[in-house]
Every structure is written in C-alpha cells, then in structure tokens.
Amino acid sequence: MPLSVIMLTLLKGFGTTCLIFAVTLVCAAPLGLIVSFGSMSRFRPLRWLTKTFVWIIRGTPLMLQVIIVYYGPGLLWSYTAFPRVSAVLIAFIINYAAYFSEIYRSGIEGVPRGQYEAGQVLGMTKAQIFFKVILLQVIKRIVPPMSNEIITLVKDTSLARVVAVREIIMEAYSFTAKGLIWPLFYSGAFFLVFCGVLTLLFGYIERRLSYFKV
C-alpha cells in the first residue's frame, strides 16, 4: 500500500477528529453558560432540574452517552434518528456543556460578593458591574480548568469510534490488519501536536491575565 494513501486516510481521520473537537467546543461553550445560569437560578425547580441533569451527564461515561444517542432512538422507536457523526456531536455537546457549566458556575460564584457590592455603591449599573468588574475576573478564574477540559476533549474524540465514526485512531487501527503499527504512533503524534499547541495557547492567555490576582 503506497505511503500516500495511508497518509491521506490518516489525514481524513484527523479531519473528522478536528470536526468533532471544533463543533463540540463552539456549541458546548455557550450552551454550558446557559446550563450554568440554570444551576445558579433562584427558581428552585429549575436549579434542581439542572443539577440533576449535570449529575447524570457527569456521572456516566461519555462512551455510554454516545451509544445511547446513536442506538437509543432505533431501539426504542425502531427509528434511526441521527447519522453517526451527528449522534457523536450531540452526545459530545451535551456532555461538554455539562462540564463547562460547572466550570462557569464555580468561576462566577467564586467572585466575592464584595465586588458586586463595591460596584453598586459606586453607582454602577448592573451591566457595568458585569462587564467592567466581574467578567474579566471570571475569565481569569476559568482559564485553567477550561484548558484542562478542552485538552481532555481533544483526546475524547477517539470515543467516536464506538459508533464507527472514522476518526484518526480508528483509521490508524485499521492498518494493523495489514501488519502496520506505525500509523498508530503517527496518530499519537497528531494528538501530541494538537494538545501541545493548545497548551501553548492557554499558557499565553494565562500569562496575559497574570498582571492581576483574584
């Protein structure tokens, strides 16, 4: 088998990996914010509902969630609801939204009451307090846990293969049948580089925010 074919296959797998990563991140980040508002709501049933949801999602394996989203509708109503990739994306987005929401919540709740109150007695509007005082402190607080979670997401993409979505590991693994082990190492290198770049990026953001302490 020519090298170029193997490379192309791996690249295609990497494309799928990147797609899962990017779509999950872009959708779960804002969705997580909405979930976090739910878990901080003063309306008790909503708070309770959100917390239960977060508990279930965080308390069960992502792999199980992917399987359920893909096979569940078929088994329950004998009807295939989603194409493979969509099923993976839905499970990932829900899962990561739950994790992100907890990070947001602890970031927001971590800002001392006194910061809001100082803003209030200085005549600021609610919007001014949020944008001028609170937001940057929340961002600073959530960057380290978010970077952890996002790097975990990179590696979690490999779970997509449980419903036969051909992400990079699955592609690489398929070559072992032909006695080739190096594509697996090769795919490992992709992950290393990917995570390395993210680590650098988050390190840069953290340094940019290191001029103050919260």
């Binding site: 006194g114 100082a118 209030q120 200085l122």
Partner: protein
C-alpha cells in the same frame, strides 16, 4: 437641617430582628461613630443606608429628601436606587478594590462611568476624562499614595489598599462617607496609616459615619457616638460625654470590656 436623618429603622433576617427602631441624625461636617459588640447590627445598619439591604421599617432622609420610606414603595424604584446610593460612600472592611485595575483606575473608573451619563459628555469628552484623571491623582496624593498610581491591588499592602478604597469612595463626592470597620482586616502596624487618613477627613469636616472597634480613635475623631446592642440604640450622644460618663449601664460595661483588652 441634618444632612442625614434615620428614623425607626428596622430590619429582620427571617425571624431574627437585627435592627430595632434605630434612629439618629448626622449634621453636615460631623462624624458619627457607631460602636457595639460583634453581631449587634452595625454592618447591617450601614448596608441599609447604602441600599445593599432593604430595611423592613422606618425612613431615611438625606438633606431633607426622603430617600427611603418603608411605607412608600415608590422610594424603592430600582432606577432611583442607583442615584440615591450616590448620597453615600462606603468603605468596606475588606477593601473590595477591583483587582484588574490599577490604584488610579480603581478611583477614576466609577467617575468616568457616571460622567458618561452627563448630557454634555459627548462634546466635552476629553475635558471630562482629563478632569476625572486629575481628581483621581489629587485624591491619591491626599491619601499619601501618589507613588503607587500604577500599582495593582495585589501589589499594595492592606493599609495601602484601604487608603485607595477611601480615595475611590471620595472620588464620587458623597454627602456622607460610611466606614465599616476600616481597619479590622489590617495588621496592627497598618491601622495607623488608615486612621490618619480618616482623621484628616474629619479635620476637613467630611460628613462621616464610622463603625469601628477602635474606641480611642472613635472618641477622638467623632462628634457624636451611637452605641448599639442587639440591634437597638442603647445610647446616643456627644462622643466626649458618652465615653467619659456613659449614662447607661450597658454602655459602661461595654466600654470597660474594651478598655481592658
């Protein structure tokens, strides 16, 4: 006419009555000291003045204007509260400086945000911004921190942070400046510098309400003193009298306990 008149103020948290029928007044240029044991309601009283808590009963007047009346829900309109808060400044026990801004920015930011609401802000933007910057610098100098303008709060000592917080409160030129135990979060060797700034304000006849556990300081700096216990005013009168010859047994015992410490 008194600049501040508080009458029959009461506040409950659930079933516990934290303030009971509290009344006092402050004349323009006077300093009122509020003393009392831990948990007696001093912080709650200041928070009520600053609309951080809404009292359950009573009224508050500033310069004759009723800014709060428990029987008149009109006085609780959200849009009005923000404006009314500006009658008061509040210096917190824990400073509450904004960590992401430098000392000078902490002082100028609130002024700038308020200036944006002025009708002439658009035309005179530069002028106004230069003004707030100048005021902020002057205030920083007044609290003895001109050389720390570009420092972030975490680079300042507690005493310095509290002095910046005082400058920040002064920047909005409140009618009444409130202090909630401004030195009790500080190491003993740092309290002096903060008390000195407050003394300086008293000498310049700044109207102040000062909650403090520093009895000597309260006695020296204030014109009137209010002793509060269990949420009720026990004794209220000229500071010199209250400290030298308290009329109430409870005041006497409280002062004795403090002078023994």
């Amino acid at each position: 006419m008194s600049i501040l008149e508080v009458s029959n103020l009461s506040k409950n948290f659930g079933v516990s009555e934290v303030l009971k029928d509290v009344g006092f007044s402050v004349e323009r240029g006077e300093a009122l000291a509020i003393i009392g044991a831990s948990g007696s309601g001093k912080t709650t009283l200041l928070r009520c003045l600053n609309f951080l808590e809404i009292p359950d009963g009573g009224s508050i007047r500033v310069g004759g204007e009723i800014i709060f009346d428990a029987n008149d829900p009109e006085t609780l309109r959200e849009s009005e509260i923000r404006r009314k808060r500006l009658h008061f400044g509040l210096v917190f026990q824990s400073f509450n400086l904004f960590p992401q801004y430098t000392a000078i920015r902490n002082i100028s930011l609130p002024c700038e945000l308020l200036a944006k609401e002025r009708p002439d802000y658009k035309e005179r933007r530069r002028e106004i911004l230069a003004d707030t910057e100048k005021t902020a610098r002057a205030l920083l100098e007044r609290v003895g921190l001109s050389d720390k303008a570009g420092f972030y709060p975490h680079q300042l000592s507690g005493g310095q942070q509290q002095r910046v917080a005082i400058a920040r409160a002064l920047a909005l030129d409140p009618d009444i400046l409130c202090f909630d135990e401004p030195t009790s979060a500080l190491d003993p060797e740092l309290t002096g510098e903060v008390l000195k700034v407050i003394r300086g304000l008293a000498d310049k006849n700044t109207t102040m309400v000062i909650v403090t556990h520093e009895m000597q300081f309260a006695r020296e700096v204030s014109d009137m003193t209010l002793f509060i216990d269990g949420g009720a005013v026990i004794e209220y009168g000229p500071s010199e009298e209250l400290f030298s010859s308290p009329r109430e047994e409870r005041t006497r015992r409280f002062l004795e306990r403090y002078s023994n410490e």
